[in-house]
């Protein structure tokens, strides 16, 4: 078995009385594509938000690349109304903001595309390069970091060329067609130099042809950028085609995991998607 890049232990996310994610334990192998599937409202995006630091989990621990990036246990009021299935509390509290986690090498895209709408394609990607800037505010203002700035610009151009958006570089990002906006969002995430790329429904709203192109694109960038990919998706064709490993979530609980063939034949998964036959 190869190296584990990201793992979650007993992640539970509770909003008031609602348990959105319950005792999630996943392990993402390096250099593999892992998928998280499940019906709408199963808690997939919530899980993403916990991993990337957007939410602090009510209970559980997230480890990325050998470091604990998030850990928490139910406290105070939450302790009384805690509904998750894993009760033994963790002891420490580790909080990292999303920007810090991104700088550690984990980048994400959003379900409802969140580009910097009024800015150009080039600026969108260039901004993502800012997170590793070495120059301070003053040397950057007085253009004393010319080499660094030039490198940021060159890298951006190279990246745009690789993803096939170079001809659109001066377009305002919100004026791009939908498929290209998705692609730009992925390119922007790549510009932060991630080891792990999290894609939240990258194929949402795409037709079969576009979806096919997307799956080729994901495979391609995975190879050329040495990425590990973790994605949420509803398009089963895409998931089954590219994933090495799949987790299935329903009502916040993990109901199955395995490789694509195992998942396709798993009765629990079929039930979750199609409902019970005996009604």
């Amino acid at each position: 078995m190869s190296e584990i890049l990201l793992s979650t232990e007993h992640i539970t996310m509770q909003f008031g009385g609602v348990v959105a994610v319950d005792d999630l334990n996943i392990q993402i192998e390096k250099d593999k594509i892992t998928a998280l599937i499940g019906p709408n409202g199963a808690g997939k995006t919530t899980a993403f938000n916990v991993i990337t630091g957007g939410y602090q989990a009510t209970n559980g621990m997230v480890t990325f690349d050998g470091t604990v990036i998030g850990e928490n246990y139910p406290r105070a009021k939450m302790k009384k109304i805690y509904n998750g299935s894993y009760k033994t509390p963790y002891e420490k509290q580790v909080v990292n903001t999303p920007d810090k986690i991104t700088r550690m090498g984990m980048a994400r895209t959003f379900q409802n595309i969140r580009l910097f709408k009024e800015l150009t394609v080039f600026e969108n990607v260039l901004i993502a390069k800012h997170c590793h800037i070495k120059a301070g505010l003053f040397s950057s203002t007085f253009t004393l970091n010319r080499a660094e700035e030039q490198k940021m610009q060159d890298d951006t151009a190279a990246l745009l060329e690789k993803v096939g958006l170079l001809e659109n570089k001066d377009d305002i990002s919100s004026s791009l067609p939908y498929g290209k906006q998705r692609r730009l969002e992925i390119a922007r995430a790549l510009a932060t130099g991630p080891k792990l790329l999290l894609l939240d429904e990258p194929a949402a709203g795409m037709n079969p042809k576009e979806t096919e192109e997307l799956s080729a694109f994901i495979k391609e960038i995975k190879e050329s950028f040495n990425l590990t990919v973790f994605l949420i998706e509803h398009h089963m064709n895409l998931v089954m085609e590219i994933s090495d490993h799949i987790y299935v979530l329903d009502y916040g609980k993990t109901i199955a995991e395995g490789n694509p063939t195992e998942i396709q034949n798993n009765p629990a998964v079929i039930r979750a998607y199609l409902g019970d036959e005996e009604l």
């Binding site: 909003f15 995006t45 957007g54 939410y55 959003f110």
Partner: protein
């Protein structure tokens, strides 16, 4: 300070607080529905002061009060139609700037029409009658303000909780888009909100200025901001919260002035706001909201 003076100041504070509470309701209602700090609300309150001066010059007081309240209400609705409705889909910053613009316009307009020199507020004889309770003396308006405030709030709560318009208002404040999809006439609800807010500001204006005795084009700015703070303090969108906030700020302000810190009484309000926003952004009675990513 003797017990009598303290009680005397408390009474003044409660009276001031009552007027603040009535204005604060306007902020809380509008914010609940449009997520807009209606910067012009304080100026509507100031304009109501001028309306009363002119109405009382030619009519007996009951008719003058009715005229003042009607004109103030209409002005509130008019401002919403003219300055906020066209911006319904614009970014929030634009609507806020529009509100500041209206406030600027009302101040300049009243400076132009009525000059910047303070105008004496006419006395309504029965309101100024002095009562003697033990060692404390108070005018009728001081006693009337808190009572009237509470009565109006109870009526308002009944309206909001039991009528169809009230239900629509609550629905819109919970979720603007969905309420619209459910067939609620958004524009009517918003107009109703501004009408109620302005009407209460009109009542508050009569009570406030009867105690203060003069109106200038800028006498709405600070009370307006303070009342917004009162609304935030009580939890924005929450009517009883705004009332408690109004009373609280009124009383503390009066006590600070009584202790000789009058320059700090305004600063205190804003300090309260900042502390409140940091410690408990949802206010005393506000509901917690989770932002979706």
């Amino acid at each position: 300070m003797s017990m009598t003076t303290i009680l005397q100041h408390c009474l003044t504070g409660i009276s001031l607080g009552g007027a603040y509470a009535l204005i604060a309701i306007g902020y809380t209602l509008v914010y609940g529905i449009l997520r807009l700090i209606n910067f012009a609300h304080g100026d509507i309150f100031m304009m109501a002061g001028y309306f009363m001066i002119f109405a009382l010059a030619s009519f007996p007081w009951p008719i003058a009060i009715i005229i003042t309240l009607t004109v103030t209400t209409l002005m509130g609705i008019g401002i919403e139609r003219a300055a906020y409705k066209p911006l319904r889909s614009a970014p929030r910053m634009s609507i806020m700037i529009s509100a500041i613009g209206v406030s600027y316009l009302l101040q300049n307009l009243s400076t132009y029409l009525f000059t910047a020199i303070p105008r004496g507020y006419p006395e309504i004889p029965f309101l100024k009658q002095i009562f003697q309770i033990g060692t404390i003396s108070a005018s009728f308006v001081t006693l009337l303000t808190p009572v009237l405030t509470i009565i109006l709030v109870i009526i308002l709560m009944l309206l909001v909780n039991n009528t169809k318009t009230g239900m629509a208002m609550r629905a819109v404040s919970k979720d603007f888009e969905t309420a619209q999809l459910m067939g609620i006439n958004i524009n009517r609800v918003i107009s109703a909100t501004f009408a109620i807010g302005s009407l209460l500001a009109g009542v508050g204006s009569i009570l406030y200025f009867t105690d203060r005795m003069s109106v200038t084009p800028f006498s709405g700015t600070l009370p307006g901001l303070k009342c917004f703070v009162a609304a935030v303090f009580g939890g924005i969108g929450n009517i009883p919260g705004a009332v408690i906030g109004g009373f609280f700020i009124g009383i503390v302000e009066t006590l600070l002035v009584a202790l000789g810190y009058s320059t700090y009484s305004d600063a205190f309000t804003f300090l309260l706001l900042i502390v409140m926003l940091l410690v408990r952004p949802t206010g005393l009675f506000g509901e917690k909201t989770v932002e979706k990513v």
